[in-house]
Amino acid sequence: MAEVQGLTRRAMLGTLGAVGVAAATAVTLAPRAATAQALGQNESVDAALKRVFGSRAMKDGSGMIKLDIPLIAENGAVVPVSVEVNAPMTPQGYVKHIYVIADKNRIPIVTRAVLTPESGQAYVGANIRLGETGDVRAIVEQSDGTLLQVKREVKVTVGGCGG
């Protein structure tokens, strides 16, 4: 029994690995566990961006996106950030995802918000951790696939990511 279990587990892990690779390249939504795990990986910000967005063009969204974050964060453990996008939220066209990415964190992707037209307005806020001084970006993905990006440097006095 134990051997059979070991075998299936190994086979399962192999399949899961393949699924993970597929999920990273495909735009389709992977199951919850897989996405959550794939989202927070220990990697450089370039690798993270490449993994999530591939080589899709990213436009400057400074006219549309309002990224609200303090310029100096005295305590990196709690940094309030909010992102507001000046875009209509109708079933025909809306903001689908808002990513918050901290360049210098060991796990660069902080959060991904999934919005629907029922949200009414593209606005999200959260308290995040910042390990050290660096850029924080907000990347907005609209329902037609357009990617918009803004970034801002935040000075961190005391890092908050530990380790």
């Binding site: 709690v78 992707i109 959060t111 629907t116 949200s119």
Partner: protein, 110 residues
């Protein structure tokens, strides 16, 4: 520690039908951060942190967040939704240890 999972949900006191409402919510949770040993290697264990937040209104998902350990301890989230009918707004937090915490608010028009 016994406070883990306490959810506080803040909605404006007066809401009119059709308004876009800003909601703030907070959950008490440790959001364990990555630990490293002396050599700087990541200690491999199942860290306990919230990795998914879903907001439902009238039974339909309005907003959801996929989160990593980069969210601060006792996470705070803000979002909006369009109040069309009176009903229940629920925010559910899922952590990596399988626990779920829920906070609800009744949306009524004054």
């Amino acid at each position: 520690m016994s406070d883990i999972g306490k959810v506080r949900l803040r909605v404006p006191s007066s809401i009119k039908a059709g308004d876009v409402v800003r909601v703030r919510c907070l959950v008490i949770h440790p959001m364990e951060r990555i630990e490293r040993d002396k050599a700087g290697k990541i200690i491999d264990k199942k860290y306990r942190y919230i990795d998914k937040v879903t907001v439902t209104y009238l039974g339909k998902t309005v907003v959801s967040f996929d989160t990593t350990q980069n969210i601060s301890e006792n996470p705070f989230f803000a979002f909006t939704f369009r109040a069309t009918d009176p009903g229940k707004l629920a925010v559910t937090f899922h952590d990596t240890h399988g626990a779920t915490y829920e906070g609800t608010a009744d949306i009524a028009f004054g």
